[in-house]
């Protein structure tokens, strides 16, 4: 469990990135922080592994404030997936994946065996292990990034807009893979995105942030769609427009649902579940 307690981050130039933020991140669930740019979501994520230090307040992992832990050891114990992978361009895929294990002193052969296992887990061909990141596609690089984060088998996985730089088809594929991985591995995942659809797809708990990391609403995707806490949330998640604003239309074969543009999006199945 990760707990934010009245966390504030003010940058030296006076920008308040995060103001008095509280949140409980439940274990073995995916929590998605979603907000537009400037909402402080990445700052919040980076405070968990002390890449950013809060100005005041504390962040606790299983009751221990992260401020009391050595930042280097802390980071090695937490998986971190960056946008575009953040891989080391001069090292082969296998060496990128084994980075944390090697830093922790795992013998080379054992680290390599483990790396091959993790490559299987993220759905990458073992033959790619001897390639350099630049020789892979964007989606493959992103999977290597996930493999690197998982190699040391951390309990917590931080994902910072990991699928922001790949095309929509690959993104959809990676999102599906992420859901599958989470079902298999049961990590505590904190995921940052600006894409509300991605947030609803992946999140067990979704945290909608407005400027200065003010929590606009916390809840499951269903809770948020069914009962938006404010006009801001309603407009952010787009309940009045597009694919989420559906109305029934009667046809000869039963009721279908159409979106605001008049396109039929689905069929209303009565009496299920």
């Amino acid at each position: 469990m990760i707990e934010f307690r009245s966390v504030t981050k003010t940058y030296p130039d006076g920008t308040v990135a995060v103001a008095d933020f509280d949140l409980v991140v439940p274990p073995h669930r995916t929590t998605v922080l979603v907000g537009s740019s400037g909402s402080g979501k990445t700052t919040l994520l980076r405070m968990i592994n002390r890449m950013v230090e809060p100005t005041s307040g504390s962040i606790e992992i299983d009751g221990t404030p992260v401020g009391e832990r050595d930042p280097v050891k802390l980071r090695r114990s937490i998986g971190y997936v960056l946008q575009n992978g953040g891989l080391l361009p001069h090292q082969k895929v296998i060496d990128n994946v084994t980075t944390v294990l090697r830093l922790e002193g795992t013998p080379k052969t054992r680290a390599r065996d483990r790396a091959h296992e993790v490559l299987d887990v993220v759905g990458l061909d073992r033959a790619l292990a001897e390639r350099y990141p630049s020789q892979l596609s964007g989606g493959q690089q992103q999977r290597v990034g996930v493999a690197r984060a998982l190699a040391a088998d951390p309990n917590i996985l931080l994902m910072d807009e990991p699928f922001g730089a790949v095309d929509p088809i690959v993104r959809a594929e990676l999102q599906t893979e992420t859901i599958r991985l989470q079902q298999e591995l049961n990590k505590t995942v904190v995921f940052v995105t600006h894409d509300i659809d991605e947030a609803f797809l992946l999140g067990d708990q979704v945290v909608i942030l407005s400027a200065g990391a003010q929590v606009a609403q916390v809840g499951s995707p269903s809770e948020i769609v069914e009962n938006p806490a404010s006009d801001f949330v309603a407009s952010f998640i787009g309940v009045e427009r597009g694919r989420r604003a559906l109305r029934p239309k009667s046809t000869a074969r039963g009721t279908v649902l159409v979106d605001s543009a008049g396109r039929t999006q689905g069929v209303l199945v009565e009496g299920s579940q």
Binding site: M51, R75, Y80, L88, P89, T99, Y132
Partner: protein, 226 residues
């Protein structure tokens, strides 16, 4: 009379193997001055440049220093140091002057190399739990190596040309022939010695150009090819 033919004849004349300063000895002294100056400068400037590039501190000072140092007339510096250190320490004075000339380009190459590394890569390295030393040693230094070699390359070229001035304060290196040639009004000797210096410079430049390409990390070279 053909000055170039005479100069080349001067270089290959059997007299060059004998006399008070044989040509081969002058070439070796010239190269030794260059090598020592660049090595000593590198010992100072490379670690300093890495630290500046890694921490981002002291960058302004380094930039100002390099800029100012480029404006220092090397001939004046050599003479000044001989005067300051005394005529008994001519070798030390000359070497010190060459070291001072070699520091700015090496310093610039070292910190520019580290600075040029993609910040996202450095961020990723920190985020997976590398210590600042590991980030420098395993990420910033290897990825910044081509620019560092570039700095060593321009330092070496500058020094190999400037070592000519050592001939003015002592009878060392290829510069001695030029200084002596001016006094004797022997133009083939002046041009012959100058040509040898040019050849040394070109050969060194070529060697560094090859080295610069060789140190580009493989994964990075793979992108450049496509």
């Amino acid at each position: 009379m053909n000055l170039f033919a005479d100069a080349i004849a001067w270089i290959f004349s059997p007299d060059r193997a004998a006399g008070s300063l044989p040509l081969s000895q002058a070439v070796w002294t010239h190269l030794a001055f260059t090598a020592v100056a660049v090595l000593v400068a590198a010992l100072v400037a490379v670690p300093a440049g890495w630290v500046i590039g890694h921490t981002g501190r002291g960058r302004e000072i380094a930039v100002a220093l390099s800029g100012a140092a480029r404006a220092v007339p090397s001939f004046g510096l050599v003479l000044l140091l001989v005067l300051v250190l005394g005529v008994t320490h001519k070798v030390g004075a000359a070497t010190t002057a060459f070291v001072l000339l070699a520091i700015p380009p090496i310093l610039a190459g070292a910190y520019a190399g580290v600075e040029a590394v993609d910040r996202r890569v450095v961020d990723g390295a920190r985020a997976v739990g590398m210590t600042p030393g590991q980030v420098l040693g395993r990420v910033e230094v290897p990825l910044g190596l081509p620019l560092l070699i570039g700095g060593l390359r321009s330092a070496t070229l500058q020094v190999v040309a400037t070592v000519t001035l050592a001939g003015y304060v002592g009878s060392w290196g290829l510069g001695f022939y030029i200084v002596q040639g001016i006094q004797l009004r022997d133009f083939s000797q002046i041009l012959g010695a100058a040509l040898v210096i040019v050849v040394l410079a070109v050969v060194l430049d070529l060697a560094f150009a090859l080295l610069e390409r060789a140190v580009v990390p493989r994964g990075v070279a793979a992108v450049r090819r496509t």
